[in-house]
């Protein structure tokens, strides 16, 4: 009877195709994944060769495949062994996976819809605070052994209280996490929303310092514009020269969402002309940008390598939530299935 009521879960075979993308510092704890599955970790950042992906899968015959932002071309999926029943993306986006074909092969694709709200939101705040205090300029001067700031300060710096923060798509979970900090910092919040108002029951629905404005008004009135919307056909390249030229010359543009929301070539042109005071980009159209891209050398642009998800605890959460997805699958419950 004891056996019938609490059988041990079966331990399916799993293969993490590019575990190093997630565990680049070898600091993550995979023990739960190892307990739930007979896990093989392919300790690389990425595999681009179709043949190589096909080979490694054939060799391991896994029931579960785990990926992190790795392209799975149609050709690869078509040659999947029939052992594969579940494909876990250790992240939110899954446009790297042909989900319809997976469905036609009776393979569930699951993702992790939300795991890094604060990690991303806090990167927005980091950029705001740094731009207000001209920290990037100061770092550059010190690296050039230029200490004149310590005699006569060279850069305009501002208080944050009373400034306007505009959030494109800011009524979502990450936008709300940004507002959670921006309000105590004394900022006024402007949000653009296609509906013209915050969703019913939104945390800040009745807060007098949080207003919904039109997209153009947001660009015109903000001291800091932050992009916090998803990337889709509508938002792709939706922020370009036209929008940047609406902004105040003293204002800053921040992108922690997806690089392709900004028309990067147009942004570069604007930044070369100093149309606005600065841009902070945690995401770029290609990550990293091309070696010869001008974006690397603009004094008024600061780039970070998609820090939003890289914090140690955030990545550990990805591992733990992948384990949750797998455990649910093993128990016959489906969670976070996207196809």
């Amino acid at each position: 009877m004891a056996f019938l009521t609490s059988p041990a879960l079966r331990r399916p075979t799993a293969l993490f195709l590019n575990s190093k993308r997630l565990n680049f510092d070898n600091k993550l704890d995979f023990s739960r994944l190892f307990a739930l599955t007979e896990l093989t970790c392919n300790q690389v950042d990425n595999i681009t060769s179709t043949e190589e992906i096909i080979d490694i899968i054939k060799k391991n015959e896994p029931e579960i495949l785990i990926t992190k932002e790795m392209q799975l071309p149609v050709k690869v999926m078509e040659s999947f062994p029939s052992s594969i029943k579940l494909l876990c993306e250790a992240g939110t986006g899954f446009n790297n996976i042909p989900t319809l074909i997976a469905r036609s092969k009776h393979i569930d694709v699951c993702n992790i819809p939300t795991y890094s709200n604060e990690s991303v939101a806090h990167m927005v705040i980091t950029y705001i605070l740094n731009f207000a205090a001209a920290i990037f300029n100061q770092a550059r001067m010190l690296h050039q052994q230029d200490r004149t700031n310590f005699k006569v300060f060279q850069h305009p710096i501002y208080e944050i209280g009373g400034k306007n923060l505009g959030l494109i798509g800011g009524s979502g979970t990450i936008g709300t996490a940004v507002v959670d900090i921006a309000l105590p910092l004394g900022m006024n919040i402007l949000i653009s929303s296609r509906s013209g108002r915050l969703p019913s029951g939104h945390k800040y629905e009745n807060n007098p310092r949080v207003k919904v404005v039109t997209r153009d008004e947001l660009f015109k009135e903000s001291d800091f514009v932050s992009i916090n919307c998803p990337l889709n056909a509508e938002t792709r390249h939706s922020v370009g020269e036209r929008e940047v030229r609406l902004m105040k010359p003293t204002s800053f543009l921040i992108n922690t969402a997806r690089g392709a929301i900004i028309n990067e070539a147009e942004l570069i042109k604007c930044m070369k002309e100093n149309v606005i005071a600065g841009a902070g980009l945690d995401t770029q159209e290609a990550e990293p940008p091309a070696e010869d891209s001008e974006i690397w050398n603009l004094e008024n642009v600061f780039l970070t390598p998609h820090i939003g998800w890289r914090r140690l605890e955030t990545r550990q959460r990805l591992v733990d939530m992948t384990a949750d997805n797998i455990e649910a699958y093993i128990k016959g419950e489906k969670i976070n299935v996207v196809n």
Binding site: D45, Y158, E159
Partner: protein
């Protein structure tokens, strides 16, 4: 006709223009180094002369200036006013306004003996300073200073494999030395929404009665030593006095976690700087962010400039434009209250 005249006389008496005393700002460029401040109120309250320099070190030069203009009011910003200078002040001087909080640059007892009031601006930059603490916390969590250094060296390897440990801020512990005061409370106002736990050292062992966070379970008072042991970020938020001078040195730093960061936005001399330099060379802790230093700026040849785990800023806490404008406006308030015979913020 009499009532009209009486009315006229009364209205004149009721709205008599304030007298406009002569004032000299001995080193206005220390405050208005970018020429962006609005001095119109000061210039309308007083017959104002601005000596547009950052500092006057020559005793004779200060004396000459003051004797030339015979001001009633002398305005200074962090400028030493030696005893010799004060003794040579003309009898016209009745008020010295320090356009800031600290006034250890002015011999206040001597001033009182000579019938001169000294006024300061006790509080004007709580958020300006508090937000600098938060800036350091966010930058250290995301290894921003390291990234900036790599990019300046044209090293883009972070963009293929990230080199530095970076952490979430939620759940980390912020320890504030002297954090129960106004600036510490402003820091907590942001640190708590960031999800941090806050520990404060306080000589009394508890938060003052009625303190904003008295009942908040995420805010605890701990001993001075426990603060160093438990904090992921130690921030100094106490005043400089004989008790706090050099109170943070090698002993305290060696109690900190090796992954922890030390932040000073208060006064440089609270930290024993040479001991800090030794500790940072040994990588006892992960980093230090100093908006204030023992001398500002540090000596040209100080090792503190070249430590890759120390980031220096030139006392940003008060430099933001709105903060400096507030200093101007509050100096205007002090002067207006003096002219109306209702003096405030007198420190002697």
């Amino acid at each position: 006709m009499q009532p009209v005249q009486t009315q006229k006389t009364m209205s004149f008496a009721a709205t008599r223009a304030l007298r406009r005393p002569t004032a000299i700002f001995l080193n206005s460029s220390r405050l208005n180094y970018d020429n962006k401040l609005d001095f119109t109120r000061l210039a309308s309250l007083t017959d104002l002369v601005c000596n547009e320099v950052d500092n006057v070190t020559s005793v004779n030069e200060i004396i000459s200036l003051v004797q030339k203009h015979q001001p009633e009011i002398v305005i200074t910003k962090e400028m030493a006013v030696p005893t010799q200078v004060l003794e040579a002040f003309p009898s016209s001087v009745k008020l010295i306004c320090e356009a800031g909080t600290g006034y250890n640059n002015i011999p206040i007892k001597l001033a009182r003996e000579r019938g001169i009031s000294v006024a300061n601006i006790p509080t004007y930059s709580n958020e300006g300073v508090a937000h600098m603490v938060i800036t350091f916390i966010m930058n250290f969590s995301a290894a921003i200073f390291d990234q900036a250094r790599m990019l300046h060296n044209n090293d883009r390897s972070n963009f293929t494999v990230f080199q530095h440990p970076i952490y979430e801020i939620t759940g980390k512990t912020l320890g504030m030395i002297g954090g129960s005061g106004t600036i510490g409370t402003c820091v907590a106002d942001v640190a708590l929404p960031l999800g941090m736990n806050v520990i404060i050292s306080s000589r009394s062992g508890k938060l003052p009665k009625g303190h904003k966070y008295e009942k908040d379970p995420r805010v605890r008072v701990v001993s001075f030593d426990d603060l160093f042991r438990q904090a992921d970020f130690v921030s100094i938020n106490c005043p400089l006095n004989s008790e706090t001078r050099h109170s943070v040195g090698a002993r305290e730093i060696r109690m900190m976690k090796p992954t922890a960061f030390l932040i000073n936005t208060a006064r440089g001399a609270i930290i024993h700087e040479s001991e800090l330099v030794e500790c940072m060379k040994e990588r006892v802790i992960a980093g230090a962010g100093l908006d204030v230093q023992e001398t500002e700026p540090p000596a040209e040849d100080s090792e503190i400039w070249n430590l890759d785990n120390v980031f220096l800023t030139p006392h940003i806490g008060w430099r933001r434009i709105e903060t400096r404008q507030r200093l101007c406006d509050m100096t205007g308030d002090n002067i207006e209250s003096y002219v109306k015979g209702d003096m405030k913020n007198v420190v002697n």
